[in-house]
Amino acid sequence: MRAICRSFLHMLKFIRHDMMLFAALTAPVLAGMAIKFIVPFIEKSLIQFTGMNAVISPYYGLFDIFFASISPAMFCYISAMVMLEEHDDHIDRYLFITGLGKNGYIISRIVIPALFAFVTTAVLLPIFRLTDLSAAQIIFLSLTGTLQGIIIALLIAALSSNKLEGMAVTKLSSLIIFGAAAPYFISSPFCFCFSFLPSFWMGKSIYDNSLIYMVPSLFVGGIQIIILQRKIMKSLI
């Protein structure tokens, strides 16, 4: 456990030396402020301009889901970038044969950042939310958002062999958060084409105001994490 904590703290030190990754840490707060203050302002302007009762406010739930996805996605993206840099420099291979080991490495680079992402989301979501989310919904969105973040980090680490490829894979893998829009814009049963994405069930849960969709969301996310984790453990030699 000592080695895992040291490894995680070392990652924070490493991030401090990388301005791009350090800046990415501020993304959740910046995104939250943009959602909280700019989106309602745009809505007000649009209502005045169009004369309609509501233009984007029916989709405020979707903004909350995106915010719940952003913090974990950014935290896990940072972790994945650190992992890729360590891979490029052969450092990961060395860390596996220290007291840290392969499992300790994965815990310090994926699991602990994900826990931080969960706590950060659970704290920031009540501050920046646009809808009246219940405490249960906040916990659910933070949890599924975190699972999604882990999936993004694992996808980046599994599909890229260096930091440059990682940037490209980040853009592609981030698309998985857009599954949340399917229940809002695609009618049933066609929207279920996206049911393999945890974000789809997040969208479904908020759109239908039902927490029962937490079950398939966690199930789908859990399965994907297990598959990706196995792939990564095999490739990390």
Partner: protein
């Protein structure tokens, strides 16, 4: 310290390492010599527990490598051929971080840096280090937790003769401190100088295993070459163990007409080529 029995491993359907058996005793320097692709790195990975899918047995410090737990690495230090340092951090920061990953009491980082002549560059970023400095830093990283067993992969590669000598002296010093050292190298001179025993490995198989001295002596007797002046410089040679039978040599000695005389043993490299039919490239 290390006991390998009937070890077989393959990346594909074809065996890459075939039926290897050998032991490394406590306190010895054991060298693995072979050309690129011979299976040296794969064997090292197996012994480090990184490739658990092997057949047979590979026991390191009493632990079967495929069943190791995290404390397995507490007593193992590894110096890979390539740098495994954080370029953006200083040498000292790197060493302090890596030493913090072990439960064992660490050796003094300042002392280690002084040992390899890097005491004036401790706070310099590793990215600003030369190749030779990185190589020395990489080497002492393997020593920070004072392991019992050292895996060294080409430890003198890329070093100038002075630093190469320094590194070899440190390796011999670590042996005196009781460490067991597994050395992987292309460099026959290093192997002959450092190793108590060497194994020639080609195509995933061991072709010979003995001390460098025994290997040299078993495969070729030393010769004596001599020159003299007889209407220009003349050269001749004869086996060392038949010197007294060489009438010409005896006559030249009696007449004090020898210009030069020296013995020449085959090198470990010659023996490697003779046994394996391969060069070390």
């Amino acid at each position: 310290m290390i006991k390998v029995n009937n070890l077989t491993f393959s990346y594909t359907k074809k065996s890459f390492i075939r039926d290897l058996s050998f032991s490394v005793f406590e306190g010895e320097i054991f060298g693995f010599l072979g050309p690129s692709g011979a299976g040296k790195s794969t064997l090292q990975k197996i012994l480090l527990g990184m490739l658990p899918g092997y057949q047979g047995s590979a026991i390191v410090n009493g632990t079967e490598c495929r069943e190791h737990k995290s404390d397995f690495y507490e007593s193992i230090g590894v110096d890979f051929e390539f740098s495994t340092m954080y370029d953006k951090l200083s040498a000292k920061e790197n060493l302090l971080f890596f030493s913090s990953l072990y439960g064992r009491k660490s050796r003094s980082v300042d002392e280690l840096l002084r040992m390899v002549g890097l005491e004036n560059d401790t706070d310099k970023r590793v990215s600003d280090y030369s190749k030779g400095m990185k190589s020395r830093l990489n080497f002492i990283k393997a020593l920070v937790h004072d392991p019992k067993l050292l895996f060294l992969d080409e430890p003198t590669s890329g070093l100038d003769p002075t630093n190469s000598r320094l590194m070899k002296d440190i390796i011999l010093e670590e042996k005196k401190r009781g460490k067991t050292i597994l050395l992987t190298t292309h460099n026959m001179q290093d192997a002959a100088e450092l190793c108590d025993r060497v194994a020639f490995i080609v195509g995933g198989q061991i072709f010979a295993l003995d001390s460098p001295h025994n290997l040299i002596m078993s495969k070729g007797a030393a010769k004596v070459s001599y020159t003299w002046n007889d209407n220009g410089e003349q050269t001749a040679s004869c086996p060392l163990d038949r010197l007294s039978e060489d009438k010409l040599l005896n006559k030249l000695i009696a007449e004090n007409r020898l210009l030069s005389i020296h013995s020449s043993e085959p090198t470990l490299n010659d023996i490697f080529i003779e046994i394996t039919g391969r060069t070390l490239v």
